[in-house]
Amino acid sequence: MSALSALGSATAPRPAGDTARAVGGRKITPFLLLLPGVAWLILFFIIPMVQLFTVSLQSNFPGYPGYYYRDVNFGNYWRAWTEFAPHFGRSLLFAGIATFLAFLLAYPLAYAMAFKAGRWRNVMIIAVIAPFFTSFILRTVAWRQILADNGFIASTLNRANLLPGGHITETWVAVVAGLTYNFLPFMVLPIYASLERADARVIEAGGDLYANGFTTFRTVTLPMSMPGVLAGTLLTFIPAAGDYVNAELLGSDKSTKMVGNVIESQFFRVLDGFPTAAALSFTLMAIILALVFVYVRKFGTEDLL
């Protein structure tokens, strides 16, 4: 008998314990343990979702602005899709560009933190996380100063005649820059975690098996960090697509507004806007879910570790 067959029998999955014994009380325990989580989900996820969905189908009470009655009015969705299609487009486009830029910035940073930083590693991690200690809004306002017309960047570019239009703020460039900046840590940290977890020996094995530095990166390091890249892109893209602060503070009044801005104004500033805002929210959620589904199917993690 070869060692292999011994191996086979030694490692064959054993039948899971005595299932026959798991009767009565034992069967209930797992459900009891699940109960708090399920209750939490029902209370804070399912009920609000159902509520939001019913709102998205309500109709205005004619003659009484701000009053609604329960209805199955899909016109709200139609209105949301037709009237605000450009905003959906911008949200996805800006979030997509910001995600891509964040990836380009985050990967080298995460790589350096994981493999090159040595004793500076913790300092770098703190530097990545530290901005969270200040308000998201304040940091975005700070970017308004940085990108302002009389700020260093804009004035330098203007002097060199490299800035068509003369402004950075009030343009989509500023919005994308703000999105990239604000969600960068969500890209860096998962990529760093996956690189840091990667066995250095596996990367060495690439070199040992005739792959030079670049080929090893392309065929070993990068694929091994794909779960982190996947998590990072999702954590960046999803909130960026729903964001309205950056477009509000860094963008212009009209041409850079995203879906988030529309939802915000429909909810808080437009009388009779509740059903439309709810329909917009649901539509955005559906689009993002569909995109994430396709994306995860394509670059799925189930066969990555």
């Binding site: 060692a3 596996v202 098996l209």
Partner: protein, 388 residues
């Protein structure tokens, strides 16, 4: 080539014995490998044996190109590999943790090397290598779904498929349980005989090194203590470290008194001992006198008819008896000499009736004794067995 450095191809075509010339590797002030020189003949199974931290893995990594020596040269045949990158060397490694690519299935893992070298039938080669290690039926699996032993086989196939000039094995069996380890030892030896490549096997398991290798180099503190065939190292160690690290040894702190023909005469207090001069690594001053446990014979009554060149110690007290099937180990405390370990083969049904506390005597053929330097270093290299 001209004035430029050699191309990848010329490194990869290097053939011949592996030569290490005065190789030193320092990490800060610490010399992990200290002026090490050795020649590994082409096609041999060579074991680097030593306790953890002795520099054996660093040596291996320098051969692989994963570390560069601080000084010295590494050659295969006439080709100087020093300074070349790992991917340029005709050397492949089976890593201790196997280091399989987690994102690739078994076949792609094995085909990785041939693909990088642009071999046209990489997949066919991979399948062939997997057959050699009897893993072809799991070619489509991901490494994470396999046991340690299976991953170990894939790691061997992944290195072997490249037909390297030198195959490096870094404690490849360390993670396996005892029984599987013994089986894999036999299989690795078979594979080495089949493919005829140079294998360098790094291990801290002296039994593994002795069963597998043609030549064993015992390393300690960055240096090679002794190198030779397993039988030679066991029978005639040249230092106390080697005597203790390879199997067990009964060692006595003695002083050289003089000589008598072929024999060296030694004193342990009032007791006179003798050893053959050709079996004495050091022949003057304070030395260590060693006898292997299986060379000692236990007597329950005082032996009267002692053959020529045999010596007697005793009476001593039997301290412990442990029966292990094939043999029985006795621990005997001989006052004024040592606490000795004795192995007796269990040739009879009731081999020995002696019980702990009984008086016993020991005899041995002094032709089996060996002498190494440094009576004050009796316990160098003593291994506390971590019984699996």
């Amino acid at each position: 080539m001209g004035i430029f450095s050699k191309t990848d191809a010329s490194f990869r075509e290097a053939k011949g014995d592996l030569v290490l010339e005065n190789v030193t590797k320092r990490f800060g002030d610490f010399a992990a490998v200290d002026d090490l020189s050795l020649v590994v003949p082409r096609g041999s199974f060579f074991a680097l044996l030593g306790p953890s931290g002795c520099g054996k893995t660093t040596t291996l990594r320098m051969v692989a190109g994963l570390e560069q020596p601080t000084s010295g040269r590494i050659l295969i045949g006439d080709t100087d590999l020093t300074g070349s990158r790992p991917y340029q060397r005709p050397v492949n490694t089976v890593f201790q943790s196997y280091a399989l690519f987690p994102h690739l299935n078994v076949r792609d893992n094995v085909a990785f090397g041939p693909k990088r070298r642009g071999v046209p039938n990489a997949m066919a080669l991979a399948d062939e290598a997997l057959k050699l290690v009897e893993m072809d039926h799991l070619a489509a699996r991901k490494p994470a779904l396999m046991s340690g032993g299976q991953q170990q086989r894939v790691a061997v196939a992944r290195a072997l498929v490249n037909q390297p000039e030198v195959l490096l094995l870094d404690e490849p069996l360390g993670a396996l349980d005892l029984k599987l380890r013994r089986q894999m030892q036999v299989e690795l030896k078979r594979i080495q005989t089949d493919v005829g490549l140079t294998f360098i096997h790094v291990t801290h398991d002296q039994e593994e090194a002795m069963t597998m290798a043609d030549t064993v180099a015992v390393m300690n503190a960055g240096r090679i203590e002794q190198m030779g065939s397993p039988a030679r190292l066991y029978d005639l160690p040249s230092t106390a470290f080697v005597a203790n690290f390879l199997g067990q040894a009964n060692m006595l702190d003695v002083t050289v008194e003089g000589s008598d023909g072929d024999w060296l005469v030694l004193k342990k207090g009032p007791k006179t001992l003798r050893a053959l001069k050709r079996r004495a690594a050091v022949q003057a001053g304070r030395v260590a006198y060693g006898v292997r446990p299986e060379k000692l014979v236990l007597h329950e009554t005082e032996p009267t008819d002692i053959p020529r060149n045999h010596n007697v110690a005793g009476p001593g007290t039997l301290v412990d008896v442990s029966f292990s099937g094939v043999s029985t180990q006795y621990i005997v405390d001989v006052p004024g000499m040592a606490t000795a370990s004795v192995f007796e083969q269990n040739l009879d049904v009731e081999p020995v009736s002696a019980r702990p506390g009984d008086q016993v005597w020991l005899t041995w053929d002094e032709g089996h004794a060996f002498v190494v330097g440094g009576g004050e270093h009796l316990t160098d290299g003593v291994v506390i067995e971590d019984t699996p």
